[in-house]
Symmetry: C3
Subunit: 328 residues, 3 copies
């Protein structure tokens, strides 16, 4: 399907420079885009690619235009925020190339929806989903396929839940009794706000007493573990393999990189950015960037350094004794 460049500008704004005759067949990266494809330049590091690209049209900012790139000719859409414009263009593209035939039923016949569940008539429930008793699925929310939403869990409007997600399994709670574990029944639930997206095979456990809460606009990647009674603040984005232990609260507008972990019962302020694989062991009260992982190296260098690291306190003691004037 072909989309006139004029329609794009009409729908999404921006200033068209160059040919208004162009018709777009696809969105593509600068490196590979061809004459009937549209691309974008967002990262100034890639400004050189403008000279080489064969893209029929490039979305860019007026700064890039000033750098003389447009002088080579070609067609541009000049906007304030090219990356945001690109995102909006992908959405326009999706609207024009919908994933589902309007003749398909919104609820797939293989989905198992408990008679006491409340699924909004505009929600889409894909193949092999399971929605438990008392669960609520909001307006226009999509459970793609093989999604499990356990009893009493509530999902707001305009959410996208990817395959294999498990919402509302029991939190991991046990008391010790003479060397055996006694189950603490998980009597709380999960509350998910609006415009939340949850990646494939991510797990969000139900609360032990109160609820586990995911606020509006949160974006969770694949294979994330959210333990019982956690709260994730609005518009926070979390990458794959992040684990958040029980009762921890993460603020709003945070970002958490892949593989980071949070111990339980701590609190993270708003606007905190956590680096990859960091182990967050105490509350963070100040916004800012935090992180820490072991730097990788060639195997031989790492092994040597790690061996010294294991005896770091002895190295420190030697330095101390030297500072006091001692030597061997």
């Amino acid at each position: 399907m072909s989309l006139p460049i004029t329609v794009i500008v009409e729908r999404l704004g921006g200033t068209l420079v160059g040919s208004s005759e162009l018709s777009i067949n696809a969105i593509a990266p600068l490196e590979t885009a061809g004459p009937n494809e549209i691309s974008f330049l967002s990262n100034p590091l890639y400004v050189d690619q403008l000279d080489k690209t064969r893209a029929g049209c490039v979305i860019l900012s007026s700064n890039h235009i000033k750098q003389g790139s447009a002088s080579r000719g070609g067609t541009f859409i000049v906007v304030d925020n090219p990356y945001l414009y690109f995102a909006q263009l992908t959405q326009l593209w999706r609207t024009l190339h919908p994933l589902h035939d309007s003749s398909e039923p919104l609820v797939h016949p293989s989905a198992v929806i408990h008679p006491n569940a409340h699924v909004h008539p505009s929600a889409r429930i894909g193949p092999h989903c399971v929605v438990g008793s008392g669960a609520v699925i909001g307006e226009r929310t999509v459970l793609t396929s093989s999604v499990n939403v356990a009893h009493s869990c509530k999902i707001g409007a305009d959410c996208i839940i990817h395959p294999g997600v498990v919402i509302g399994a029991d939190g991991f709670g046990f008391a010790q009794n003479q060397g055996k574990w006694v189950k603490i029944e998980q009597l709380g639930s999960v509350l998910i706000g609006n415009q939340v997206e949850i990646g494939a095979n991510t797990c969000i456990d139900r609360g032990a007493l109160g609820d586990t809460v995911i606020e509006d606009g949160v974006k969770l990647d694949n294979l994330i573990q959210i333990a019982h009674n956690v709260r994730i603040g609005a518009h926070t984005a979390i990458a794959a393999f992040v684990g958040v232990s029980g009762s921890t609260k993460i603020g709003a507008h945070c970002t958490v990189a892949g593989g980071a972990g949070f111990v339980g019962h701590i609190e993270i302020a708003d606007h905190v950015n956590i680096g990859a694989k960091a182990v967050i062991t105490r509350s963070i009260a100040e916004k800012g960037n935090y992180g820490g992982y072991y730097p990788f190296d060639s195997d031989s260098v790492w092994r040597k350094n790690a061996a010294i690291l294991r005896k770091l306190s002895s190295l420190r003691d030697k330095v101390k004794s030297l500072m006091l004037g001692g030597s061997k």
Copy 2:
């Protein structure tokens, strides 16, 4: 549903101090509990909350009573182990508020159970579960929903298997042949004992030749990987994102915190506790606490330290030369 406090004490024991007229509507944390709710005090750090709570009744130990908390009036259940009592209370609560209508069939019609599988008539098999040929599911064991149990795998009695769990997928075994991987068919199986709980999307691979074994009373959190021929000892509890590599044996009564990993072919003694994100690279013969992760910090501090860490051996050499009396 309302539960007279006297019934709780009758069923679970403990000494009731205060009003025997009280009727309980919910179990709640100390901070949020209201006058018709019951709470518990287990961690002595929170003893101050006793003065502020609005809970109708608090489960606590005689120590806490002695600290004068009861003097403010109110209703208490005095027990030896408040946390264990709380666990038992949640179980009583669940019994009185069952998740499933007794009219529901134990095996959901959407479950796919191989005709050669052996499912005990008291087991519950939820929606979209798959039970393979020759698999055995024991008495009262629950496969919640979307659980996969592959051919020949055996699960004991009174287990709870949460959604998305995969039991008995092939272990990861290949031989090299001129740069290509040749599959080693995984001819073993998985044996799971009694009273085992397995969290959502956890994977337990079948053995290559012998079996992968999970002993009685083991508790596994979500998103855990148990490789082929691993053995997990009785009453060991493992948190999310833990990976146990092939043929490793973990003892009984161990705990493993989130994100820890074990290399293959090692042996961990009983009563070992492993800290978060630790990489366990050799056998542990002595019970005790082990761990290690890179401490997080503000991004700038961490980057500085990590850069030095990468040259730790050069720092060590400088100290050595200083110890020998040398300086630049």
Copy 3:
């Protein structure tokens, strides 16, 4: 079922030393194998076990024979590469003990296959699988059970996809707009080559614009995350809990140990081996072994060392001042 030793040698080659009358009931490890079982010796560290094993037959190399092990009598198959021979034997075993009755249909009736999907008539699609519109499943490829293959994703021939795998969920892509995340529709797809094996609950996201590519012969363990627009080179093997961030390219014939992570937009050469839990933060141009994780220790030793590590730059500064002749 019993398999004459002569049939094994006839099918797989090797030199039979000893009794040609032997009939094999099972393949077993050296430690546990009995008189009607066959075992193998691959790792020279275990050569001592040859004297103790009760195995009816042992697969070994001529080196081991020379070490005199065969002098005790017994039956051996002498081959160049015992581990490879063992792998081939497991395959022979599987062929003779097939998992599926030939009367079972190749496509399970509970699978949901979109009418526009292209499933080769020789492919096996197990219970509760979902195959989206335009998806392609190649010859003899097996989707075991509960596998999700989203619209337009293509899987080659002779692949094995284990339960819970999600292929083609949306990549994690968003633009910021005044503190909120704007979804970038993921318009690319996933291309998977031939003879690829993918472990349980692993996720491979679809590309944002181009495709995510898994080349021929790649072996992925359980619970792996492959982000959008990643490319994994042919015959690379990756262990559990590895995360590969967006647009990163990993070469051919690499191995990646469990829990390692790759940041986005980097490139790893062919024949690179990455150690467990390593965080790979920049491109690697040279083949070789790379790694790095925090060494575990007893909890008390680790805590002491970690505290010093957090102040490593101050320790370095002290050494610098000592080198310059300063002391306190």
